[in-house]
Assembly symmetry: C2
Homo-oligomer: 200 residues x 2
């Protein structure tokens, strides 16, 4: 046994985290024991309360410590504009952008026939109920451009066919600042197809 | 506030660890809340006991949960052969190699006139006492090849001059598997100087 027991336990935990191998876990564990007792106690507390308190918002499925998340309970947000996303990580991404004033709906997955994930396995029925209760709702489907993302987008589009719902999806195209010669042909093809007129 | 409070606390803690930026800290915090309650509780406990229990071995200065570390208290290790190292991280490195059967002495720093760290600021006086109590001791100075490492090596060599102590240092040379054309000239120069005769 190379490490003292408690140090080995810290290493084992860090190795469970994404992208952390043996070497990083050791480095992190050794750094951990240099951190002040107050910070360690705070962290140990946060770990346990996170596990107890964090749950899904009853309206949108986003991560929250309460019944309703702070986005759904914010009176200044437009409840008729719903951005539909795969998981709560995307909520954080959009909130960092800070320009979106609507609310979210977290599907918690995508339809994937390959992995036998059907529409009933993800958070779609609650989306339908939610939309039905609104006047002139608008949905923005912000799902990734994969087979699963496209399938889910098409499925949701179909559900709301002939209903008074405006539906859009994120635009595809060249990422800002990207070198055109390094782009994959599918992205370039999409960017060409979805080109935007800039002359009068 | 983009993140729920407890999640933000987890992120803040992870950012204190070496090499962890905003993005990695978020990813790690989100992964943390997916880990089982048992593992989280174990980790929270290990964090707090690590802070309480881990201290320095009274003989060698290595990290231990007891008064004397498991290397110093191991009867099968050769107490007359002491490997002198900068910090306890090096102990773990040598122990992973697994071929060293002596014991260690952790200096907990190197002499550095630039940073006003003198011999009295690092763990040298205890080394002298330790060596004086031994019969035919041998010291291996395993310090890094920097100005501070060289200074400390020379200083320790001088202390034990005219005393019955065998002193050696790690060999310098080409790292195993390294491409010779990519090596820095100082390493190459050392490797040439310290060349080893292989003919009879």
């Amino acid at each position: 046994m190379i490490y003292p027991d408690t140090l080995q336990k810290l290493i084992n935990f860090y190795k469970k985290l994404p992208g952390i191998g043996d070497k990083s876990a050791e480095r992190m564990a050794l750094a951990t024991i240099e951190i002040s007792k107050t910070d360690i106690d705070d962290f140990a507390n946060a770990l346990q309360t996170a596990k107890e308190k964090l749950n899904k918002c009853k309206i949108c499925g986003h991560l929250t410590e309460n019944d309703i998340c702070n986005i759904c309970s914010n009176e200044n947000r437009n409840k008729n504009l719903i951005c539909v996303i795969e998981d709560y990580k995307s909520v954080f991404s959009f909130e960092k952008v800070g320009n979106f004033n609507g609310v979210y709906h977290v599907l918690n997955g995508l339809i994937s026939p390959m992995e036998s994930i059907g529409p009933e396995d993800i958070n779609i029925s609650s989306l339908v109920k939610r939309v039905e209760s609104l006047e002139n709702p608008e949905l923005i489907l912000a799902l990734k451009s994969s087979i699963e993302g496209e399938t889910t987008t098409l499925y949701i589009k179909k559900i709301f066919e002939n209903k008074k719902v405006t539906i859009s999806r994120l635009s595809y195209g060249i990422p800002m600042g990207a070198e055109i010669d390094y782009l994959d042909i599918i992205t370039l093809d999409k960017a060409l197809e979805d080109r935007k007129k800039i002359s009068e």
